[in-house]
């Protein structure tokens, strides 16, 4: 079943002090099935973050539409948008975005507190997730007292705790070393195995090789996509690298 559908999405930024316009997204079309783990790759400045921000309602599209479960996101009223974000989406950011004044536990619980979830429910959801992510011994510490990899796992836990329809991750491994990245991707893979839909932006072929499908974006449009099928992660990684090479060499030739 199609969970997320993106149709003809276009985004034009207008510079603040001049009339100069940047076309970040030209015409993006793709869809994500329920239970998929999809990676989006592309060169720096190709519009990946912009795309993710529009899907997560943090930004508005210039034209085009995003459908979640068949409902257009642009129809959500302003008042409901925060609740929508809280309840249906989960976010993992490149720079973690944890709050220094909360303990790890409270950081994870934040979205639930904001939706006024009963205490018992919060507690019962917390433990399985932190155990699963291997951060249960840190939950009473503060963010500045744990490592980068642990912080990102906390961010994943915060995204998971609302039991969202889809998790949106923007370069979740961007600030991590290869071992921590590997670890995080295994976790995301595991979560995906259990049925969670994940849409992820990444620069790392290794990270992308964990997904079922990789979309390549160039010049604000989906340029290419490859499916993993029955391939092993390593084989898939090679294919991704090849595609990237082709992508960039064509880009060079184009210029």
């Amino acid at each position: 079943m199609t969970l997320l559908e993106i149709k003809n999405l276009k985004k034009i930024y207008t510079a603040r002090f001049s009339n100069q316009q940047t076309e970040a997204l030209a015409a993006v079309n793709f869809s994500v099935e329920e239970g998929e783990l999809v990676s989006i790759m592309g060169e720096s400045g190709s519009g990946k973050t912009t795309l993710l921000n529009i899907i997560s309602t943090l930004d508005d599209a210039t034209s085009g539409e995003v459908y979640l479960d068949g409902n257009p996101l642009s129809k959500i009223k302003n008042k409901e948008i925060s609740a929508f974000r809280r309840n249906t989406l989960g976010f993992v950011f490149q720079d973690f975005n944890l709050l220094d004044n909360f303990t790890i536990k409270d950081n994870i619980l934040l979205p639930l507190v904001l939706s006024k979830t009963p205490l018992a429910e919060m507690e019962s959801r917390l433990m399985p997730i932190v155990r699963n992510l291997g951060i249960e011994s840190h939950i009473d510490k503060f963010p500045y007292e744990v490592s980068g990899g642990q912080k990102q796992r906390v961010a994943v836990a915060r995204a998971l705790i609302t039991q969202p329809k889809i998790i949106l991750a923007d370069e979740p491994t961007g600030a991590l070393d290869s071992k921590a990245s590997q670890n995080l991707m295994e976790i995301l893979g595991g979560i995906n195995e259990s049925g969670q839909t994940i849409l992820m932006v990444t620069h790392s072929t290794r990270a992308a090789s964990f997904s079922k499908r990789v979309l390549f974006i160039r010049d604000g449009a989906v340029y290419h996509e490859i499916y993993r099928g029955d391939q092993s992660a390593d084989e898939f990684m090679d294919r991704i690298s090849d595609s990237l090479k082709v992508l960039s060499s064509r880009g060079e030739r184009d210029e």
């Binding site: 809280r86 709050l99 004044n101 503060f142 500045y144």
Partner: protein
């Protein structure tokens, strides 16, 4: 930020200037000086925290500590010079403006001059150089004792709970209790003047400690109460406050102290002003008051002069075509001593370590005439009034006499409550003479003790006639320094009183204004700086689904802290200050508790309203920053 420091400087500056009432204003100056120290250190700690990252980066990039110290030195030299100069200038300007405005509004009989002197400017400069020096040392120590990594992280880490907060908490209660205790147990106004400063100081320090330790306790308790903590508003605000708990506490304590000062300054001066009429009546119970002083060499002379003068006064009144409406007169003898084992032991004068008791002896016949009572006394009986009511034995020995006592209320003057005093109504004038003889036997040198008399009367007639009488009596009984009599007309005193009391009102309002501005600045500063601190957090939270209503809710749940807590504690402070302030008011002749209580309540409410407005406006500012 800069401006805030400058304005506080202004406060201090203006304070120094208007030090017309030496003791009370010394207190004011010291309190404000202390306050500026705390305030500037407080602002400085914010600023430096923000700059930790920058300086940490310098360190990593290879700048030596020596160089960093140098940079900091020039920075603080420059900024302190600028703020002192700007502060003096604004102080001058603001002071003049405020005085002009208040002079105009209150329509003083004589304008109160706003004077500036080099001494006060010098003192201001010295104090602030000291403060800035202190902040500089603090800053340098912050950077030299920390490693770059710590500095880089400086802004992230929350404030740590101060060590021994339980001890601090207990200490704060002790200090507050001590301060309150002084106020409650203060025996008389003279002691009140002495101890007032100490009490104020104790309470101020106690307040800081209380807020620092107490607020952290409460916040932690709230955090541990999951039902309260895990609700959107509380969740955000409690964690935020714990994150910067000391800053928060100091800010609240500042507000609380300022609030107390505003309330006390304004309510007492208003009371004094409102009580002026009553004060006058206390001080001058009659329109015309003649006081006769006894002749040391011929004490018995009073017993004839007393009646002669009464007749003379009545004659003069009628001569001027006026009728005597009411008249009161009595003879009395005043002397000092102490109560020891049922005996009143004479003391020669006021000097000495322990403050002696003032005793006033009055003959029964005059007492009955004065009060309209019909007491009769045997030779060994006396009526007895004691201001502190601590002497409860039925008998009292004075000289070679022993009196059986009957207790009465204060039918005399309100002055009796200034210091510990006793009024003793003895059977007749011969007893006064006996007491005098006994006293003289003990202190042969002394000439302090004579029989004096008071004659007071109200008259009826036209204004013109009254004025004539005033002049007549004045020339008759105000014969200069060697005369044995003194005449005071209430009418003549009234003007003087009003100008003095008007001056008080003026100063009270002026102080109130200053402190209110201080409150405004601190609240504003607190909200703005916290707003900028929290902005990033709120942005992150919005990404994970915080909506605007919740931001509002979290700012609203601060109300209890930001608004109610300082006001409530300030009210408690002021309530405990009540006894000592009441005693101080006695000096100004205000004895009506109701007036003071009513103005007190009115001022508390008015200040709460003003603070509420300040709070609303500043929290709007906060909201617009974080949104």
């Amino acid at each position: 930020m800069f401006f805030l420091m400058v304005s506080l400087l202004t406060n201090k500056f203006v304070q120094e200037r208007s030090a017309t009432l030496p003791t009370l204003f010394m207190i004011g100056v010291v309190v404000i000086g202390l306050f500026s120290v705390i305030f500037i250190l407080y602002t400085n700690s914010f600023l430096i925290k923000r700059r930790k990252k920058e300086i940490g980066l310098y360190g990593i990039l290879g700048l030596e500590k020596k160089h960093i110290a140098k940079i900091l030195f020039f920075e603080s030299l420059f900024s302190s010079l600028l703020s002192i100069v700007a502060g003096l200038l604004t102080g001058l300007l603001f002071g003049r403006l405020a005085f002009m405005l208040l002079n105009f509004m209150l329509r003083m009989p004589d304008d109160i001059e706003y004077s500036t002197s080099l001494v006060s400017a010098g003192a201001t400069i010295a104090l602030f150089t000291l403060i800035f020096g202190l902040t500089y040392l603090y800053n340098v120590s912050q950077f030299t004792f920390a490693n770059p990594i710590k500095l880089l992280k400086g802004k992230q880490e929350g404030e740590k709970e101060p060590k021994g907060s339980l001890i601090l908490f207990i200490l704060s209660l002790i200090l507050l209790g001590w301060g309150y205790g002084i106020s409650i147990t203060i025996p008389d106004p003279l002691a009140a003047i002495e101890k007032f400063f100490l009490a104020v100081l104790l309470v101020i320090i106690g307040t800081y400690l209380l807020f620092i330790s107490g607020s952290i306790f409460i916040l932690k308790a709230l955090k541990n109460n999951k039902r309260i903590y895990y609700r959107p508003g509380a969740f955000i605000s409690i964690s935020g406050m714990l994150y910067r708990m000391k800053q928060n506490a100091v800010g609240l304590a500042n507000i609380c102290i300022l609030a107390s000062m505003v309330i006390i300054a304004v309510s007492t001066t208003i009371t004094i002003n409102l009580g002026s009429a009553e004060t006058l009546e206390n001080q001058y119970p009659y329109e015309h008051n003649v006081r006769l002083f006894g002749d040391m060499d011929n004490v018995e002379e009073m017993n004839t002069r007393f009646f002669e003068v009464q007749d003379e006064v009545i004659a003069l009144t009628e001569e001027n075509g006026l009728d005597v409406a009411e008249m009161e007169s009595y003879r009395s003898e005043s002397f000092f001593g102490n109560l020891v084992d049922g005996r009143f032991v004479f003391k020669q004068n006021l000097l000495g370590d322990d403050s002696p008791i003032l005793m006033m002896a009055i003959p029964l016949e005059d007492f009955n005439g004065m009060t309209g009572d019909n007491y009769t006394l045997e030779e060994d009986e006396a009526l007895f009034y004691h201001s502190t009511k601590t002497y409860t034995e039925g008998e009292l020995a004075i000289g070679n006499k022993n009196y059986k006592l009957t207790e009465i209320e204060n039918e005399f003057s309100a002055d009796m409550e200034f210091t510990e005093s006793i009024a003793l109504v003895v059977p007749d004038v011969s007893h006064l003479l006996d007491i005098r003889d006994d006293f003289m036997k003990e202190f042969t040198e002394s000439n302090h003790i004579t029989i004096d008399a008071e004659i007071g009367l109200d008259v009826e007639g036209t204004e013109e006639q009254k004025e004539q009488l005033v002049n007549r009596l004045n020339s008759e009984y105000n014969g200069g320094s060697d005369s044995f009599s003194l005449y005071q007309s209430r009418e003549n005193q009234r003007e003087e009183w009003y100008s003095i009391n008007g001056g008080f009102l003026f100063l009270g309002i002026f102080l109130g204004l200053l402190f209110t501005i201080g409150t405004l600045l601190i609240t504003y500063f607190k909200q703005v700086s916290e707003g900028f601190d929290d902005r990033e957090k709120f942005q992150i939270m919005q990404k994970v689904g915080l909506d605007e209503d919740m931001i509002k809710e979290s700012t609203r749940s601060q109300i209890v802290w930001m608004f109610l807590l300082p006001i409530v504690i300030a009210t408690i402070h002021v309530s405990f200050a009540y006894p000592i302030v009441r005693k101080l008011l006695l000096i100004f002749g205000v004895t009506n508790d109701m007036t003071w209580l009513m103005t007190f309540i009115a001022v508390v409410i008015a200040f709460a309203a003003i603070y509420w407005m300040i709070y609303r406006v500043t929290s709007k500012v906060y909201y617009s920053i974080v949104k």
